[in-house]
């Protein structure tokens, strides 16, 4: 089979020209990137200067971000661009005197210290242009997998890479693929979980917006490996840009023979459809997600049967996280051993984190698994507005890591040892102005609102736990309330039907583990040490 020869649109940018990239990720668009792109195109949009719109470059809170590249020079990144500043900056580059204004240092750690595997092409290619993705190596892994490998070999390679699901659980991806491959039945399905409902998580959005073809490629390879002909991408309704770019990417890939009937002339056919969520966190849970895809009420059902046994319309179903699919093409291209060489034993490869909260730079970081938390913070420029107090991982299902454990290697087992979870990669940094009982209260209210309401422990337990936390915040709680809260938490963990209810108590138990004295001063002394909770008879409700 012939590997498709991509047409390189960026070619005009070479040969001494300037290549100007403007980030068009959601955060940069929100701070005005569209105007910057327009101004640059109007002023400089002709050869030998190329102005392209890309996806996310990483340091989102510094947007609009632009990058200027010139042959023989290191790329220069500029932050907080206005249309005018961007034009002036380009003019200065052309004149050979690059300005200092807004320029990030060449070794700006947020960008320089990343190991980008999944996000390899994010911020480099034009997400709306299939040719741009293909010029950067997109769909080469697909051609290799369906041209030169058997489905067994593909599953074996993914298994050998040691890749674990990036949706939170860390289940071995190769094992899951093999289960679906070996399952009987004519109809099988591949589903990408792009629900990403955790507060503070935006890794999957970044990949879907910035390099949609990477997700499609991973899914088609998965379909080939497990013997499925149909795929679904479930995108949360709050991500319209991701949905729009994915929709366009599906159409383009279909026209180019990379999706649909007889892919690349191989005889293998695979189709992908988009499903947009309706705003429920619980729809990220795999059985609820499948119910929603089938047009039913998005609420979990008891497992077993697992999706691999009985999923969509009764068929064996492979469901993986968006980032998990994002790892597939590089593994096929470079081999399992290459992937395993990154990270630590049992924790192969890289992980994407979205870091936010009290840090100098908020945005999206990709690092090898096992990187110490301290290094992630350093890459984000350190804590802002005070000293480090804690970092929340795993969102509403996770817990916090206190200052004494900043050297913890960020991998599945080490985080578990500290009573939290890796989760999907949201990392919320909190400085010493934050009240930890207030944090726990926030997450419990979140879970109360997001409980699907099917099982009694989660539906009623979150209501009562949120009330108890309200009482603590208002300085009205007694020590009985405290023990009742702890009892309720253990009860929900043990008895809830799905992961939402089981994990809803984690933020409370984790803050109790590391910051119990803060709870005690709320209860015993009726005082909030940080002053966040309004006391003195003024309940701080919402």
């Amino acid at each position: 089979m012939k590997t498709p020869g991509p047409k390189d649109k960026g070619a005009t940018a070479r040969g001494g020209g300037l290549k100007i990239s403007v980030c068009l990720g959601s955060p940069c668009l929100a701070s005005g990137a569209a105007g910057v792109l327009r101004a640059l195109r109007e002023t400089w949009g002709e050869a030998p200067i190329a102005v392209i719109g890309t996806g996310c470059m990483g340091p989102c809170s510094r947007g609009p971000m632009i990058r200027i590249e010139r042959d023989g020079h290191p790329a220069a990144y500029y932050e907080r661009m206005t249309p005018q500043a961007a034009c002036t900056t380009v003019a200065a580059h052309l004149a050979g005197a690059p300005p200092g204004q807004g320029r990030l240092a060449p070794d700006f750690p947020f960008i320089a210290r990343q190991t980008r595997i999944v996000l390899e092409q994010c911020g480099r290619i034009d997400p709306n242009d299939l040719n741009s993705a293909r010029a950067a190596g997109g769909y080469r892994a697909l051609a290799h997998a369906i041209g030169k490998m058997t489905p067994e070999q593909v599953c074996g390679e993914i298994g050998a890479s040691g890749l674990r699901g990036r949706g939170g659980g860390g289940y071995p991806t190769g094992t899951k693929w093999e289960l679906v491959r070996a399952a009987s039945g004519r109809r099988k399905y591949v589903v990408a979980n792009g629900d990403e409902g955790d507060p503070g998580a935006f890794m999957d959005r970044t990949l879907m917006e910035s390099d949609p073809h990477r997700l499609l490629e991973g899914m088609v390879i998965a379909g080939y490996a497990v013997g499925a002909r149909d795929g679904f991408i479930f995108v949360r309704g709050e991500y319209p840009l991701a949905a729009q770019r994915l929709g366009a990417a599906i159409a383009d890939a279909g026209k180019a023979g990379l999706l649909g009937r007889n892919i690349l002339g191989s005889g293998f056919s695979f189709r992908i459809r988009l499903r947009i969520g309706a705003g429920a966190f619980v729809c990220g849970e795999e059985t609820a997600l499948m119910a929603s895809v089938m047009g039913r009420r998005g609420q979990p059902v008891i497992r077993p049967p697992y999706p691999a046994q009985r999923g969509l319309w009764g068929g064996s179903t492979l469901i993986n996280n968006v980032e998990t699919f994002g790892c597939i093409a590089p593994i096929i291209r470079n081999g399992a051993a290459w992937f395993r060489a990154m990270g630590t034993p049992g924790n192969s490869g890289t992980k994407v984190f979205s870091i936010s909260g009290d840090v100098a730079t908020e945005g999206v970081l990709e690092v090898p698994l096992g990187t110490p938390l301290r290094e992630l913070l350093a890459m984000a420029g350190g804590v802002s507005g005070g000293s480090f107090k804690a970092a929340q991982t795993g969102g509403a299902s996770g817990g916090c890591i206190p200052a004494g454990h900043m050297d913890v290697p960020v991998d599945y087992e080490s985080l578990k040892g500290l009573g939290t979870i890796m989760g999907s990669g949201g990392l919320i940094v909190m400085n010493d102005q934050r009240c930890m009982t207030d944090v726990a209260r926030f997450f419990m209210h979140f879970c109360q609102d997001e409980s699907c309401g099917k099982c009694a422990p989660c539906r009623t337990g979150t209501q009562q736990a949120a009330r108890l936390l309200d009482r603590i915040a208002a300085g009205e709680a007694t020590s009985d309330d405290m023990s009742q809260l702890e009892q309720l938490c253990r009860f929900m963990q043990e008895t809830s039907l799905c992961g939402l209810g089981m994990a809803a108590p984690t933020p409370v138990l984790s803050t109790l583990r590391w910051f119990r004295e803060e709870y005690e001063s709320h209860v015993r002394d009726r005082r909030c040490p940080t002053g966040v909770c309004a006391m003195e008879g003024v309940p701080c409700r919402d």
Binding site: A280, V282, R297, Q299, V301, I302, Q448, D449, E450, S451, C452, G453, K454, C455, A456, P457, R459, T460, G461, T462, Q463, Q464, R467, Q484, Q487, L488, F491, E494, T495, S496, L497, M502
Partner: protein, 232 residues
């Protein structure tokens, strides 16, 4: 019919393949409490009062929705399970407005029975007391949401046995609510056949027959579902 053997409360029990732990346990004389389960309906595993411990499983499992497996060792009555069951019933009593004195099902209610069986004499939690509302627009029946424990037996019986699918659940979490058709008064429903199965299936006084207090659970759903299956 293939059979298997498992241990329930130290007693060796034989079960049909595919049979639930609950049904095997009941046959062997271990009475596991239930609320959302109703023989003949597809189990929902929602209320969690039937949780039992299975050796080697990290968490308790719902007996109504878990199949008996060869060699399983099941315990249905540990202190941990009783504590969890009490917690569930107290939480349900605190969630809406269960005023037994004025309820059509007083002394026939499964929630009340279970509270008595567990020896619950007070509720540790704050009563939430929502304004849940009543719908008496139907000529013969009524629904008092204050007494609803969201077990979904009405939803399932109307869908699985009567085939009308009049009931569904709207909202989520604390805002979950049983609705009729497109959230309209029951009296205006175009799908309800007036068969009364939902009223029979409801374990509490939430669904009731007007002017006919406390005659419930007369229909054997298990029989009905078998009859329905045999028709197919």
């Amino acid at each position: 019919m293939p059979r298997l053997t498992l241990t329930i409360n130290n007693r060796s029990v034989s079960a049909r393949r595919g049979e639930s732990i609950l049904s095997a346990a009941r046959r062997s004389g271990s009475d596991i409490p239930t609320l959302c389960n109703l023989g003949g309906l597809i189990p929902a595993g929602a209320c969690r009062v039937c949780l039992v411990e299975v050796a080697g499983y990290p968490r308790p499992v719902p007996a109504c929705a878990t199949r008996a497996e060869q060699g399983m060792v099941v315990t249905t009555d540990t202190e941990r399970l009783t504590a969890a069951r009490r917690m569930i019933v107290e939480l349900l009593l605190a969630e809406r407005n269960h005023s037994c004195a004025v309820c059509v099902m007083n002394r026939h209610c499964q929630l009340q029975d279970l509270a008595a069986r567990l020896g619950i004499d007070h509720v540790r939690f704050a009563f939430i007391s929502p304004q849940a509302g009543v719908d008496i627009s139907h000529a013969r029946f009524g629904i008092d949401h204050n007494r609803c424990i969201l077990c979904r037996r009405c939803v399932r019986v109307c869908d699985e046995i009567e085939g009308a699918h009049t009931w569904d659940v709207d909202g989520r979490g604390a805002a979950s609510r049983i609705i009729c058709d497109l959230a309209q008064p029951w009296g205006t429903s175009t799908t309800c056949t007036g068969c009364g199965k939902c009223v029979q299936a409801c374990p509490t006084g939430a669904l009731f027959e007007k002017d006919a207090p406390t005659q419930k659970a007369t229909i054997d759903m298990e029989r009905l579902s078998e009859w329905r299956r045999s028709r197919k």
